[in-house]
């Protein structure tokens, strides 16, 4: 049972880390569009060179 005295504070710490993470994600705009990314993942580019190019011009994932 003594382990709980360590584990409970630890879990509280983790919750606060989770809250901090959530704020960061929220600030980065991750929750702004809840539909688009799900659609976007369906696509493959059928030409590798275009793939590279388009990735070069979209560097910031959070934008």
């Amino acid at each position: 049972m003594e382990a709980l005295f360590l584990l409970v504070p630890l879990s509280i710490g983790i919750v606060f880390i989770a809250i901090w993470l959530f704020f960061r994600m929220s600030d980065s705009g991750q929750f702004d569009d809840m539909i688009g990314p799900a659609l976007r993942i369906l696509h493959d580019d059928d030409r590798p060179e275009i793939n590279q190019k388009s990735e070069n011009v979209r560097p910031d994932g959070d934008g």
Partner: protein, 860 residues
């Protein structure tokens, strides 16, 4: 994967790209493109080129994931020249509007555009891939839910117009993002509320984990140290919920108290503070009850209902969006007019009064103005919902937001675009959304008393329980505070009204004063004006009486052939009737269309003379035709009808009866109100006989004609003196005084005169049937409000005593309260649904208006 996603477009035989039927192989030509290894048919070289371009660029995936065919020409909307406006020289204009932000150090520009027509995954993909090809693009992000495109680019290598042009190439119309339009404020609030909700949820779940062991260990197996640990854990985990998530309640309560008003946030905040304070004390002292679990759950559930309400409000703003597209972003100014006809393209926001602008056919009119040169027809359907294009000539007023359909015109601006009709319209809508109707004010007042009483009651309950069982006093008092739901009471009316207003705006019915729905529902008398209200307000051909051997159709065609040359209002009636007939008979062209009409001469006040296929005809007043025909016929003057005669040398041919036509929906509206048990009265300034004639045709029992405006006013006031509640329907301009005097007034919409309109409700659609729609909505809204209030009352009557008796603990109270609010909001949202049986084309019109008004009218 592509096989799975291949939707319906592929199986329909037709153009693979746009879905139009593929023409039969004429002259051995056909168009096709190799897509995914299959030769696909194309309807035209255009589609072939586009499809080939998509394939060549390696964007084949577009076809496998799209859900719709590509847009065809009929849906195309944006006019290319205005794209140039956003080039570097003019970016300032965009910046002024606050849409672009420039980072000087990085040489990059950031802007947001609203994109019309994002429908599926393929759209997002196509837009992002296409823009990624432009030089200097830093980031592209399409937000599907807000239909908004955020781009950042290097302004030295790429121009904003390139972005818009690229979008246009792939078939999307983009507009500079308008912060007002998308309710940025609303979006920020939503985002914050979402975060608060999330934190509250997280906190609730964690606290529950540490509350559960204490609940389970009822037999005292848990030692003191462990209990204390659990309490401290609960306390720490409740902190984020209290400090962050509960902010809206504290803030609301603070605002309420500052304004000396007891709103619903006050007991909620007191409940939260009391529960938290009590729990903290218990934790510190090491004994007593803690309510961290109930508290977090309460905050979470309450935020849920708030979030729901906010989303409902956001939906309610959606109807506004359509209107915002109407004013064009640019205008062709003629600075040297009238000496020089050079034009320059300027942003519409820079237009000032007295500027002279050129409006090309197909362009939207950027501001209100007066025509200086040219005759054209304009489409005002976006402003009024009227689909028929109106003919305008020199001196006529044009409302901003209308579409110039046929001819180029030169116009002098009278109001800058910010003061244009469309802007006024939008301000009216915004204003309408802010007003609070009586019922709502009453509910707020009741809620305030309710809260005051409740606080007292909670104190009384606390002391009573202190006397009965001190250990339970605290939780029971908190439960009483929390379980009561003045929110349901306060929310009952405004949410219902917001939903109803939204529904009406989407049907082109603008509620200016908030009391309209209540009052119309209670009204006992409905008074209609005649001209322009029950009638169309312009002459319509009623009857053709042949006086000779010629067929009525032939006579009509001859008359129309002559009248084409006349600008007289009656001429329009004849020409329209002739067009209607030939359309009905499906004869492709009128038989006389090709015939030769010459020597047409207009004799002022008399009529027209001219020869058709070499035969001389006269068309006009009886006396005028008599001179040509050589003998007279007995003229029968019917009530309210103007007769025009057609004759040739020594022959009378026909009499045309023209009268102000009844609106097609007038009869239905009148019977609707009669069925609802309201007294329908026709009150007109026109001749008594005419008024009676119209009233009889529509089944109105009381018809009063020859009333001057002040007599009308006196009549309405007399009715009101007898206790009647009067609803008045007029054209909104001539009857200003009587409209203001009536308990509730309706005006038939008219784009140009909107700002001067004195009515509580404007029927922008220009259709009388909107009135029965308003009435139906009013009845439905009031019944929803009644349901909501009943529910709120019942809930509080049951829940508060239950809590006071100690049957509810705080967390159960929290659930009860949130569910109660949610029921009210969801019930109100039902009002937004438009029943489809009466949805004849308005819905379609609202959409179509934005996309292709010019094309629809150009076919006329």
């Amino acid at each position: 994967m592509s096989a799975v996603l291949c939707g319906s477009p592929q199986v329909v035989p037709g153009c693979f790209h746009c879905g139009l039927p593929v023409p039969l192989e004429t002259e051995g030509k056909s168009w096709q493109v190799l897509i995914d290894g299959v030769m696909r048919p194309m309807c035209c070289p255009g589609c072939q080129t586009v499809a080939q371009c998509i394939v060549d660029n390696g964007l084949c995936d577009f076809y496998s994931t799209r859900k719709w065919f590509s847009v065809t020409a009929a849906q195309e909307t944006l006019i290319p020249p205005e794209l140039q406006l956003y080039d570097d020289a003019h970016t300032s204009a965009v910046e002024q509007a606050g849409q672009t932000t420039t980072d000087p150090a990085m040489e990059t520009c950031e802007a947001a555009f609203s994109i019309e027509g994002i429908r599926c995954a393929a759209c997002v993909w196509l837009i992002e891939r296409r823009l990624a090809r432009l030089p200097g693009m830093c980031s592209i992000n399409v937000n599907v839910s807000t239909e908004c495109l955020h781009v950042r680019w290097n302004k030295t290598v790429c121009k904003p117009s390139d972005i818009l042009k690229s979008l246009r190439e792939i078939g999307y119309a983009a507009y500079p993002f308008d912060p007002v339009r998308h309710g940025e404020q609303l979006e920020r609030t939503r985002k914050k509320l979402f975060r608060q909700l999330f934190i509250a949820g997280l906190s609730m779940m964690q606290v529950m984990m540490y509350a559960l062991p204490v609940y389970l260990a009822t037999d005292g197996t848990m030692d003191e140290a462990m209990t204390s640990l659990m309490r401290w854990a609960g306390l720490l985990l409740t902190l984020p919920a209290i400090c962050y998530s509960a902010q809206p309640f504290f803030y609301g309560a603070w605002i309420n108290l500052k304004h000396r008003w007891l709103g619903m946030d006050v007991p909620v905040s007191i409940g939260i503070v009391a529960a938290f304070g009590g729990s903290v004390m218990a934790t510190l002292r090491g004994h007593g009850d803690v309510y961290f679990d109930s508290l977090t759950m309460f905050i979470f559930l309450l935020l849920c209902s708030r979030y729901l309400e906010l989303m409902a409000r956001r939906k309610a703003a959606s109807a506004l969006d359509n209107l915002h597209h109407a004013l064009p972003a640019s205008a062709w100014r003629m600075p040297g007019y009238p000496f020089c006809r050079d034009t320059e393209l300027i942003p519409a926001a820079q237009l000032r009064a007295d500027d002279v602008i050129l409006i090309k056919p197909g362009d939207a009119i950027a501001a209100d103005g007066v025509i200086l040169e040219g005759t054209t027809t304009v489409d005002v359907s976006l402003l009024t919902g009227e689909s028929q294009a109106q003919s305008k000539t020199i001196g006529a007023n044009l409302p901003g937001g209308a579409i110039n359909a046929t001819q180029p015109i030169v116009m002098r601006v009278t109001h800058a675009s910010a003061d244009s009709t469309l802007s006024v319209l939008m301000q009216l809508i915004v204003r309408a959304g802010q007003g609070k109707p009586q019922l709502s004010l009453w509910a707020d007042k009741v809620a305030a008393w309710f809260v005051g009483g409740l606080l007292l009651f909670a104190v009384v309950v606390f002391f009573l329980w202190q006397w009965i069982d001190p250990a339970r006093a605290w939780p029971i008092a908190i439960a009483v505070l929390v379980v009561s739901c003045p929110c349901a009471l306060s929310l009952a009316t405004p949410t219902a009204l917001a939903a109803a207003t939204d529904r009406l705006v989407r049907r082109k019915i603008l509620i200016v004063q908030p009391h309209v729905l209540e009052t119309l529902h209670r009204a006992t008398h409905i008074i209609f004006d005649k001209t322009g209200t029950l009638t169309v307000g312009k002459p319509v051909l009623q009857n053709i009486e042949t006086l000779g051997i010629a067929s009525p159709e032939w006579c009509l065609q001859v008359a129309a052939a002559l009248e084409v040359f006349s600008a007289h209002p009656l001429a329009g009636a004849i020409v329209d009737a002739a067009k209607d007939r030939s359309r009905q008979q499906e004869s492709d062209l009128s038989p006389l269309a090709a015939s030769c009409v010459n020597d047409v001469r207009e004799v002022a006040g008399q009529g027209l003379e001219g020869s058709v296929d070499g035969v001389l005809f006269r068309f006009g007043a009886a006396a005028f035709v008599e001179k040509l025909a050589g003998y007279s016929v007995t003229a029968q003057a019917a009530v309210g009808v103007t007769s025009i005669y057609l004759g040739s040398r020594a022959n009378w041919l026909a009499r045309f009866d023209v009268a102000d036509g009844l609106r097609s929906d007038a009869r239905q509206v009148v019977s609707h109100f009669r069925a609802a048990g309201k007294t329908v009265i026709l009150l007109s300034g026109d001749q008594q006989a005419v008024a009676r004639h119209v009233a009889e045709a529509l089944g109105i029992s009381t018809a009063l004609g020859e009333y001057l405006p002040e007599q009308k006013l006196a009549y309405v006031q007399a009715l009101q003196g007898d206790g009647a509640i009067v609803a008045m329907v007029g054209d909104g301009i001539n009857d200003a005084a009587v409209l203001r005097a009536a308990d509730v007034s309706f005006a038939m919409g008219n784009g140009a005169a909107l700002a001067q309109m004195h009515a509580d409700c404007v029927l922008l659609s220009g259709r009388l049937s909107s009135l029965s729609e308003v009435d139906a909505t009013a009845a439905q809204t009031l019944s929803v409000i009644r349901q909501n209030l009943t529910w709120a009352l019942l809930y509080n009557l049951v829940a508060i005593p239950a809590a006071a008796l100690g049957l509810l603990n705080p967390w159960l109270s929290g659930i009860g309260m949130s569910v109660s609010s949610a029921v009210v909001v969801l019930n109100a949202l039902r009002l937004r649904r438009i029943k489809h049986k009466s949805g004849d084309g308005i819905e379609a019109a609202t959409g179509a208006l934005v996309t292709s008004p010019s094309l629809r009218t150009s076919s006329m």
